[in-house]
């Protein structure tokens, strides 16, 4: 698109050259590449809104960024009776005809043909097309103001303008129409309030000299026409530029265009609402001017208008020359290629590969939720050394690492860790399900994971579960989400990664989802019937039963999210739902799962939060997300295969220590992001490091915290520990219910809890066992470091540890305890790095 524009501009002559300015510093470059380009290449100004924003771009600089000149150039309309232009490049038609816009930049000028048509003297503004955008842009219908359910000060608008008819009524008819004064528009309450002429809790929204004021006032004077019948529906929104490489500190004008079903377009740059997904990189003002901040990275700039969304990607690279792909390490698989490409755009280099011990600890905790034992660590480190000594060049021992990954994926602890994760999301909860139900549900989850049942089959079994909750553990899910609405919103969030619950009561404020979408999903569950039986429930689909739309009171047909209803009625509507969900073409399921798995291993989802996919929250690396989800589909939803691919990638195996180029990068995976261990894994890690297994009352001997299948299982000490470290209560389908945030109570507990001290000094624990076996000081220190960190101590660490053990009067066992205590209270222990 940009190339086409460039050529279009080249055709415009003659070219005027000026003194080179700072915006285009390449002295001696060919004149043809020094001209700015103007978007759009032609200005067709058409009534009813004969206005267009232009955007002017300088050619790429030596550093590969394209500066925006929109506010830096001078504009002139050659025939000022046909059109006028502001200093910011907003062109407005004044009478039907043709002229030329001259854009005078520091390095040259370009001319853009302008045509004005369709202007009629009798044309009046209309409600939906002209007035609603003003209400939206001025924030009148936003959530904290008149858009909230009960309105504000008696004036109630639909949140973000999803219901134009009701809003028209509210503005013109409610309160006997005193909000608009047809005789004296200037005395209309809506204008007096919005301009602050009379007190307005929401403050001044626009001035009397503004375009908003003029349009509203003209519309009221014209008798508040609602809408003419022939208005073509809005089909889509586009934003220019679709992507842009920009320098930090720069400003860039975007241009937003609405495309209608009749082929007409309208410039809605002034009327769109804007936002970015990464405020550290970019912010955007109400006129569509993007300000690039200090931080290096990528940000999506979103524009919303009349329920449609368009996004533009802004990349702010480091201000150094571009980096060649040859500077990047050899990719292990497609993941590395996608990550490196993104990093190359930003001129960030990945950190070095993580040291062997650090990798081992990371991959153990992430994949199976346990720390390696000291003996495992010794063996792994030795095998890595052996492989390294065989290699030249890049000597990272990938083969040894991959071999150990395969071993991990076969261990039973794998199922424990992932059953815990899915039990959180699916809410295995004894309080709701009773002990029998919760255990049956958990067992079904764990057995499915242990057998590596393909995820699509797991989903099909879950959403179509029928029969007795004791016999079929999956049935319990419908006892957790026991109403059709709850089932729909949880299913959407958990399996589609779409938070649709907003749309239960109102149109989703940031998205296209409407109440029709919500109730269309709900209808799949409308016929479920539960009968209480001893110890649970019996679930079956009834032959009839409908979901009724709360506004229209009409039955709603089942409808896949974002698609048309499927003809024909299945015996159990959920079968049709499962067919849609598990189809290889389903646009949600594989992306949702790929993103959750990626987030688990990398510390951050490509879409974040992981269950909040929407056009206004685009993935940080769309190519990578596509690659991962396609891999899942190609591998028939084999979860272990995707995990293996992720953890054997070089991206996963990067060190967490930043280099000179990636210190501020927190979303492009140029290094490993440290993550605090989850509550259960941390508790098990303390048991593992101290060699003192947990004693969990009421659970079989040797049970680890990760295996506690019910989040409400009451344990005198462990419940405090797990709650303090953020174990979720499983009352929400959101992964965010599990807290990773540090608190002072956590720190105090790790430091001082008598229970942890008891593990440290356990008679059968690691330290006393080593002492009894006659371990030397050196051996003891190594053992402790391997148990806690999965690596040997550095020279400084070893010296400090030895000093502690050799201090006058130091007790061998006590001082060893002190060393392990100190290690368990460091970031390196509590976090996976």
């Amino acid at each position: 698109m940009r190339i086409a524009l460039h050529q279009a501009v080249l055709a415009v002559a003659p070219l005027m050259l000026c003194t080179p300015g700072s915006a285009a510093p390449q002295a001696g470059a060919a004149p043809s590449v020094r001209k700015p380009t103007v978007y759009p290449a032609q200005l067709k100004l058409v009534a009813p809104d004969p206005t267009r924003q232009v955007a002017v771009t300088a050619p790429p600089t030596a550093l590969g960024v394209e500066p925006d000149l929109t506010a830096a150039v001078r504009y002139r309309v050659l025939d000022p009776t046909v059109a006028e232009v502001t200093a910011q490049g907003l062109v407005r038609g004044l009478r039907n005809g043709a002229t030329t816009l001259e854009v005078q930049g520091p390095t040259g000028a370009v001319r853009v043909p302008v045509s004005v048509s369709g202007l009629r003297p009798d044309r009046a503004y209309q409600f939906a097309s002209d007035i609603m955008p003003i209400l939206s842009r001025s924030g009148c219908n936003s959530g904290p103001c008149h858009g909230k359910a009960e309105g504000q000060g008696g004036f109630r608008l639909s949140v973000f303008a999803y219901n134009p008819d009701a809003d028209f009524q509210a503005l013109t008819a409610d309160r006997r129409g005193r909000r608009v004064n047809l005789m004296e528009p200037a005395r209309s309450l809506v204008l007096l309030k919005a301009t602050g002429r009379i007190p307005h809790a929401g403050g001044i929204r626009f001035r009397e000299k503004s375009e908003s004021y003029r349009i509203l006032s003209d519309w009221i004077a014209a008798g508040c026409p609602q809408d003419s019948a022939h208005t073509a529906p809005l089909q889509r929104l586009s934003i220019w530029p679709p992507s842009r490489t920009a320098a930090s500190g720069a400003r860039h004008q975007v241009v937003v265009t609405a495309h209608y079903a009749d082929g007409s377009t309208r410039d809605v740059t002034r009327w769109a609402r804007y936002g970015t997904n990464n405020p550290g990189v970019a912010s955007v003002d109400e006129n569509g001017v993007v300000l690039l901040e200090k931080q290096v990275g990528e940000a999506a700039v979103m524009a919303q208008y009349d329920g449609k969304v368009a996004a533009s990607r802004f990349a702010v690279p480091r201000s150094t020359p571009p980096v060649a792909m040859a500077a990047y390490p050899t990719p292990q698989n497609f993941i590395d290629r996608a990550v490196w490409q993104k990093l190359q755009r930003l001129r960030i280099l990945p950190s070095d590969a993580a040291a062997d011990g650090r990798f081992l600890r990371r991959v153990f905790v992430d994949t199976i939720g346990v720390l390696p034992t000291p003996d495992e660590a010794r063996q792994f480190l030795a095998e890595c050394d052996a492989e390294r000594s065989r290699k030249t060049g890049d000597r990272t021992p990938f083969e040894t690492r991959a071999k150990w990954v395969d071993k991990l994926l076969d261990r039973p602890e794998y199922a424990d860790l992932w059953a815990l994760k899915w039990s959180d999301i699916l809410r295995v909860n004894k309080e709701k399900l009773g002990a029998k139900g919760a255990h049956a549900f958990y067992s079904w989850i764990r057995e499915s994971i242990a057998a590596n049942v393909p995820f699509d089959q797991f989903v099909r079994t879950l959403v179509t579960a029928s029969g007795s909750s004791e016999v079929n553990g999956a049935v319990n899910y419908f006892r957790v989400v026991d109403k059709p609405e709850a089932a729909a919103s949880a299913m959407s969030q958990v399996l589609l990664g779409v938070r649709i619950e907003c749309a239960q009561c109102h149109h989703h404020p940031f998205e296209k989802w409407s109440q029709e979408d919500f109730y269309g999903l709900t209808a799949y569950f409308a016929r479920l019937q539960q009968k209480g039986i001893s110890g649970g429930a019996f679930l079956a689909s009834a032959p009839s039963g409908e979901t009724v739309h709360p506004k229209t009171k009409q039955p709603v047909a089942p409808r896949p999210l974002g698609e048309q209803p499927v003809a024909g009625e299945a015996e159990d509507r959920r079968t049709a739902l499962a067919d849609w969900l598990c189809s290889p073409r389903n646009p949600f399921l594989s992306k949702m799962l790929a993103n959750r798995l990626w987030a688990h291993f990398m510390g951050r989802g490509l879409v974040e939060p992981v269950d909040d996919f929407r056009d206004t929250n685009p993935p940080s690396n769309p190519e990578l997300l596509r690659g991962l989800s396609q891999y899942l589909v190609d591998q028939k939803f084999d979860v272990k295969k995707l995990i293996r691919t992720i953890v054997t990638s070089r991206a996963y195996q990067l060190d967490s220590v930043p280099n000179a180029t990636n210190r501020t990068d927190e979303q492009n995976y140029s290094r490993a992001y440290p993550r605090r261990m989850s509550a259960e894994v941390l508790m098990d890690s303390i048991a593992s490091a101290t060699g003192a297994p947990l004693q969990l009352p009421g659970l079989p001997r040797g049970t680890r915290a990760v295996q506690i299948w019910d989040s409400e299982w009451y344990l005198p000490w462990q419940s405090y520990f797990l709650a303090a470290f953020g174990r979720p209560a499983r009352t929400s389908p959101c992964e965010c219910e599990r807290s990773q945030e540090p608190t002072i109570a956590q720190v105090l507990h790790l430091m001082n809890a008598p229970e942890i001290q008891a593990q440290l000094s356990s008679r059968t624990g690691r330290i006393r066992a080593q002492a009894a076996a006659g371990a030397s000081r050196d051996r003891m220190i190594e053992e402790i470091f391997l148990a806690a960190y999965s690596r040997r101590p550095t020279a400084r660490e070893k010296a400090a540890a030895l000093k502690t053990m050799q201090a006058p009067g130091a007790d061998f066992v006590d001082s060893a305890e002190d060393i392990l205590w100190a290690l368990m209270n460091t970031v390196e222990f509590v976090f996976v790095q």
Binding site: A729, T731, C736, Q740, E741, A745, P754, E797, E828
Partner: protein, 444 residues
């Protein structure tokens, strides 16, 4: 264990203590009689004011505390007689004799009113000033609020004074006393231990038994060496790493800070003072609250259960609950006043709702959210005021009805917090801290 009638089993870790000896100081006997209502100290800037938030879980009866109806029919007025208090025109229940003499140190809202008669919903509404959404579910989880409790908001606004946590819950977390979506960094420091028990100490504040002070210090030094080795590499690697290190520093401050250690050491109080508050969990929690505020804490929440009196209400209140309130609250107000702390320390006492006018067949009263009496004083709140009134049967406000939103707006205003500011829920929904309410100006 207290169990409210909704069947929610509250995981209380402490039990209300039995009543201790009721010391009645001379000063107390004479102080109150003709003291006039004192105006609040306008000299303490709102941002420096603190709060002790007392929640009487279960729903205390207005008929047996601050809104007696002696002229109503017998099945309404109940068994208790009114006695005059040091606020002219305010009679209180006969089983609050000490508080009656100290009433000039507080104000009463008799017309607090809402419509949620569920324990969870009502408590959520009262503790946060926001009615729960339709998605709200009552669970055993603590905290369980959808909307932030004021202690968390104040913590976010002001942070900690040195060496002492800004927000402490005694003896346990209030069910609706958490930060909700503001995030766990605004969680209170929870004592979870009974300050009335002889061996009371705060969880995890001192080194584990068997680890002496010098060994604990040596451990911390060694940890510092190990952390240093990693820190250079990890500097700025993650904001959470930074946060954890900050929390370690704060925790070290706390365990080594004389202010905190002494504040939590309730055994330093004289026997007479401890006796005056009452040797029960409630009284000693209030005393601990005063100690914490004195040491620099900004917000203390105190949970006191047992007020869901569907049966034998008169006996329970007379023998157990009212004497605890009488000794505890009276001593707290007097103590704060005499130490010059009442001007800077708000005290507010409420439950989730009031109780029904008619005594039921089990000699109890049931839930009634339409009227409730609330005590509020100190920290910029006028004293000696009686706000609002209820009808002859005590069922509905007739003058100056006060909503939970208005009460919360009053609390925030006195504490200098902009309660109209917008905060964002995890779904991105913008909500004000308190919606659509003005403070009760008569109290400010």
């Amino acid at each position: 264990m207290f169990r409210t009638c909704d069947g929610v089993n509250r995981r209380d870790v402490v039990r209300a203590g039995v009543l201790g000896p009721m010391g009645l100081g001379l000063a107390e006997l004479f102080a109150a009689r003709d003291a006039s209502a004192k105006s609040p100290g306008g000299t303490v800037p709102p941002a420096e004011r603190n709060c002790i938030f007392i929640f009487l879980a279960g729903g205390p009866s207005q008929y047996e505390t601050f809104d007696l109806k002696p002229n109503a029919a017998a099945e309404i007025r109940g068994e208790f007689k009114p006695i005059p208090s040091s606020i002219s025109g305010l009679d209180v229940a006969e089983h609050l004799p000490k508080l009656a003499k100290s009433a000039h140190r507080m104000s009463i809202i008799r017309s607090l009113t809402h419509t949620n008669a569920g324990h969870g919903g009502g408590a959520h509404y009262m503790c946060t000033g926001k009615h729960p959404t339709p998605l709200f579910k009552e669970t055993t989880t603590r905290p369980n609020n959808e909307h932030p409790f004021p202690g968390a908001v104040v913590t976010r606004e002001r942070g900690a004074r040195k060496g002492i946590p800004p927000f402490v819950s005694l003896p346990m977390l209030l069910t609706y006393g958490g930060p909700a979506f503001l995030g766990p960094e605004y969680m209170p420091f929870v004592i979870e231990s009974d300050p009335a028990s002889p061996g009371f100490s705060v969880r995890d504040l001192a080194a584990a038994p068997g680890v002496g002070e010098s060994r604990a210090a040596a451990r911390r030094t060694l940890r510092g060496v190990f952390e240093e080795e990693n820190k250079a590499a990890l500097k700025k690697a993650s904001s959470r790493v930074e946060a954890l290190n900050t929390f370690y520093q704060k925790a070290f401050d706390l365990v080594t800070s004389p202010a905190a250690r002494s504040a939590f050491d309730i055994h330093r109080e004289s026997t007479a003072v401890r006796d005056s508050y009452g040797r029960h969990t409630f009284g000693q929690s209030l005393l601990m609250g005063r100690r914490l505020i004195e040491a620099g804490c900004r917000f203390v929440s105190i949970d006191h259960g047992g007020w869901d009196n569907h049966t034998t209400i008169f006996q329970t209140l007379k023998d157990d609950l009212l004497p605890q309130v009488d000794s505890g609250l009276t001593s707290l107000l007097k103590d704060l006043d005499e130490r010059g702390m009442l001007d800077s320390t708000m005290v507010v006492v409420m439950g989730e709702f009031g109780r029904t006018s008619r005594v039921n067949k089990d000699a109890g009263r049931d839930h009634w959210p339409q009227s409730q009496s609330v005590v509020i004083t100190g920290g910029g709140i006028k004293r000696g005021q009686v706000i609002g009134s209820t009808d002859a049967s005590g069922e509905y406000p007739v003058e100056r009805p006060v909503s939970p939103e208005e009460l919360m707006a009053t609390i925030y205003t006195a504490l200098g917090v902009d309660y109209q500011q917008i905060v964002y829920t995890p779904l991105g929904r913008p909500v004000p801290i308190v919606a659509d309410a003005s403070p009760v100006q008569e109290l400010l």
